[in-house]
């Protein structure tokens, strides 16, 4: 028990004269944030989160709190793929509280997470939006170290994401996968695929034409793809075998969304090494 991490991270961004700056950055091991950088224009601040212990074990708790003040814009990613190791039963937890003030926009684009067999993991993301704030986030998960022939046959993975604005829920996504051969193979569950991905945009209406052009992107890939509109936004889901395939598709979707909402192309973080 004593060797468990209780990591914390508090990040706050503000917009000053059109530039987005980090105005607060407090962290507790194993979480750390690299110095902010600006590979595109100065209005969008890029940050990279590091998990210095290499992975999460049962009993670990990570709490992240991110706030964007009015009209600030940030892109946050992670330095490496995340790992959640097998556990003897203790649950690992990660919670994220995100508050986006009026007119701000956060692009939350972490690299994929590998969930080892026997891992017990619970993630909760709560996002509070103010007027005209926009949330864009994805999550790519590989169940089991499939390259070694490992499947997610025992353990459990939970990922709950909720986006609220002024007391109304805009999107609630409660995913739960119990490590079990039946659900891994079932066409209703993973359908024999080790990789899933979800990409969401919440806070703005997505019109039919934009939805249609995103649907049209899927034709030349192998996995299962789906795109649907939310009450105010859009979600894309992937189920397949390849993290690079889902990432390619998500980047293509991100490009269309960026052109539509920010009128500029995407800027792929260098840490992704693609």
């Amino acid at each position: 028990m004593g060797s468990n991490w209780q990591g914390k991270l508090e990040l706050k961004y503000a917009q000053r004269l059109g530039n987005t700056q980090v105005i607060q950055n407090q962290s507790q091991a194993p979480l750390r944030v690299q110095r902010a950088f600006y590979p595109e224009q100065k209005d969008i601040c890029h940050s990279v989160i590091l998990h210095t212990a290499g992975g999460i074990v049962g009993g670990d708790r990570l709490d992240l709190s991110i706030k964007l003040e009015e009209k600030s814009q940030a892109l946050i990613t992670s330095a490496t793929a995340g790992k959640v190791y097998g556990s003897s039963g203790l649950e690992a937890q990660q919670t994220l509280n995100i508050h986006l003030q009026a007119g701000s926009c956060l692009e939350w684009l972490p690299q994929e997470t590998i969930i080892f067999n026997d891992a017990v993991y619970r993630q909760k993301i709560h996002i509070e939006l103010e007027q005209d704030a926009l949330w864009l986030g994805w999550e790519i998960v590989r169940f089991g170290r499939s390259a070694r022939g490992e499947s997610f046959l025992s353990g459990s993975w939970r990922s709950h994401t909720e986006v609220w604005r002024a007391g109304y829920p805009l999107w609630s996504d409660r995913l739960w996968l119990q490590g079990d051969k039946g659900i891994i193979e079932s066409p209703h569950g993973l359908g024999g695929c080790p990789v899933v991905g979800t990409f969401a945009l919440v806070g703005q209406q997505v019109n039919r034409d934009l939805w249609q052009s995103i649907c049209d992107l899927t034709s030349h890939y192998d996995g299962d793809f789906g795109v649907t509109r939310l009450i105010e936004g859009l979600i894309c889901r992937y189920r397949g075998h390849s993290t690079s395939e889902v990432r390619d598709w998500f980047i293509a979707v991100w490009e269309l969304l960026r052109l539509f909402y920010k009128e500029r192309p995407v800027c792929v973080p260098r840490v992704w090494q693609i």
Binding site: R174, W176, L177, G189
Partner: protein, 178 residues
């Protein structure tokens, strides 16, 4: 998850004086809208729920008018009621036993799916009936689970359904929807 929300709507009506807890009904109505996997599943829940609630207000305005007008006014977007909410409210107001209600709701869903199967795939009427009959135990089991879920346990693993429904939305002609 839908049956568990049905239970929450049912429980929001006081069993003794039938006073509705409007805040709770509003919460679950909006939460359910936000948690639908796809826009077509959301639209079908809204369409059936809004039709049912209008019918209920028509049949028994004294019992239902206040409840559904409140839900319409406080829903996002304005003017919608989900099927599980309208169904749960009706059953509570009309004193239908909760255990029977949940099993019946699940049975209706199963019968609907099998009915669609009979029309779409090579599946005979009697084979369809046999499938529904065989689901009996599973429905009873699922009903008990749905009755006992905590809020935190409203979660699921249904990538298959979600992606199939998303792909269905892109079809030129869609079945069972005029």
């Amino acid at each position: 998850m839908e049956a568990a929300v049905l239970v929450r709507a049912y429980n929001a009506i006081d069993p003794i004086n039938f006073e509705p807890d409007l805040e709770t009904l509003k919460y679950w109505n909006n939460w359910f809208s936000a948690s639908r996997e796809t826009s077509e599943l959301r639209a079908s829940s809204w369409q059936m729920g809004t039709s049912l609630s209008k019918l209920l207000m028509d049949i028994a305005p004294l019992e239902f008018e206040q409840i559904f007008q409140h839900l319409y006014k406080n829903s996002y977007p304005v003017g919608v009621c989900n099927l599980a909410i309208a169904f749960g409210v009706a059953a509570a107001v009309w004193k239908i036993d909760k255990n029977i209600l949940v099993a019946a709701y699940l049975q209706t869903w199963a019968a609907n799916l099998v009915g669609a199967g009979v029309k779409l795939v090579p599946l005979g009427q009697t084979s369809g009936q046999r499938i529904i009959f065989k689901l009996n135990d599973q429905i009873q089991k699922t009903a008990i689970e749905a009755l006992n879920l905590a809020d935190e346990q409203l979660e699921s693993c249904n990538w298959g359904l979600a992606i199939a429904s998303m792909q269905h939305e892109q079809l030129y002609s869609r079945l069972f929807r005029s």
